[in-house]
C-alpha cells in the first residue's frame, strides 16, 4: 500500500481492471473501484469512488456474508470524433467478505457525486461490550 494519502497533490492513475469471478454476459471492461473502509463500534462504512454511475445503475448485494458492489456506466453513443482518450469506462465490480454479523435490514446506501456511502450496522451481539472492572 502507498501511504500517499496526505500528499499535497493528486497523481494520475489508470483504473485497474478487475478480475471477475464469473464471465460477463455483456461485453466491456470491468474496473475495481477505489474504496475506503472503516469500522466503528456499531457499524462498518464503505466509501467507493464510482464516477459515472447513476443511482439506478448501482447494485449492492449481500449474500452469505459476501458483499457485491456492481455499478454500470452508461455512455451515450454519440457520433463524436475522438481526440484524446486517457481513461476508459466500463462496469465497476468489487466483492468483500464481511467477517462481522451485519443487520441486513438496516443497511443504508447513498450515492452522491459518484461516491457511494454504504453503512452496514453490526447486529447488537457483534458490538463490543465494555467490561467494567470493579475494584475488589
Amino acid at each position: 500500500m502507498h501511504h500517499d494519502k496526505d500528499e499535497k497533490t493528486m497523481t494520475a492513475r489508470a483504473k485497474s481492471e478487475a478480475q471477475v469471478p464469473a464471465e460477463q454476459t455483456r461485453p466491456g471492461r470491468v474496473f475495481t473501484p477505489d474504496v475506503d473502509i472503516y469500522e466503528k463500534d456499531n457499524e462498518i462504512v464503505i466509501l467507493a469512488d464510482l464516477p459515472g454511475v447513476a443511482a439506478q445503475d448501482l447494485t449492492i448485494d449481500l449474500k452469505d456474508s459476501v458483499l457485491t458492489i456492481t455499478g454500470d456506466v452508461s455512455e451515450p453513443a454519440e457520433n463524436e470524433q475522438e481526440v484524446v482518450r486517457e481513461y476508459l469506462t466500463g462496469r465497476y465490480f468489487r466483492q468483500f467478505t464481511l467477517s462481522e454479523v451485519i443487520d441486513q435490514a438496516k443497511i443504508e446506501a447513498k450515492l452522491a457525486d459518484g461516491v457511494m456511502r454504504l453503512t452496514l450496522p453490526k447486529v447488537s451481539a457483534a458490538q463490543p461490550r465494555k467490561i467494567e472492572v470493579k475494584p475488589a
Partner: protein
C-alpha cells in the same frame, strides 16, 4: 515502465475490436490526419485524466472527479488552452479505525492544449454523477467551412 511493457500486449484482448480501433487511431495520427500533441493510448500523468472528443462545432472534455462539487473546481479558458484545478478533500472520521484507504485526496491542476481555438465566452461545464463535462464551442475561425463549388 515494466508495468506498461508487460501490460501492453494484454489489454484490449477482451474485445479484439478495441485493439483494431486503437491501431486505426494510431495510424490516423501518424498519417497526419489530425494535429494532436498527446501520445496515443497513454496519459499525461497529471490528474485528472481527460477524454476529449470533438464534433464540427465543439470540443467535449470529460474527467472523472468523484466527490468533487462544481464549486470546488476552477476552470479557465484562453485561446486553445483549458486549465482545470481544484482540491479534493476527504474528511477522516476520528473515531473510526480504517481497514482500507485507497481513495486519494489532494490538490490538482491540469492544463491542456486543444487542437484549435475555442470561443471562451460560450464554454459551459456540468458535473453529473462525479463526471465533469466541459463543452467548448470552436471559435468561428477554427470551425470547418463548407465551400460550395459553382458549376461554371
Amino acid at each position: 515502465m515494466t508495468r506498461t511493457l508487460l501490460g501492453w500486449p494484454f489489454w484490449g484482448w477482451k474485445n479484439p475490436f478495441d485493439e483494431l480501433d486503437r491501431v486505426k487511431r494510431q495510424l490516423d495520427a501518424i498519417s497526419g490526419g489530425r494535429n494532436v500533441e498527446w501520445p496515443w493510448s497513454q496519459n499525461a500523468g497529471v490528474f485528472p485524466l481527460l477524454n476529449v472528443t470533438e464534433t464540427a462545432e465543439r470540443y467535449k472534455v470529460t474527467a472523472e472527479l468523484p466527490g468533487i462539487k462544481a464549486q470546488e473546481l476552477s476552470i479557465t479558458v484562453t485561446g486553445n488552452t483549458l486549465s482545470l484545478s481544484g482540491n479534493r478533500a476527504i474528511a477522516a472520521d476520528p473515531e473510526a479505525s480504517y481497514h482500507r484507504r485507497e481513495r486519494k485526496a489532494g490538490a490538482f491542476s491540469r492544463v491542456i492544449t486543444l487542437p484549435g481555438d475555442v470561443d471562451a465566452e460560450r464554454v459551459s461545464a456540468e458535473s453529473k454523477n462525479g463526471v465533469l463535462t466541459i463543452l467548448l464551442p470552436k471559435a468561428a475561425a477554427a470551425r470547418p467551412r463548407q465551400i460550395s463549388v459553382k458549376a461554371g
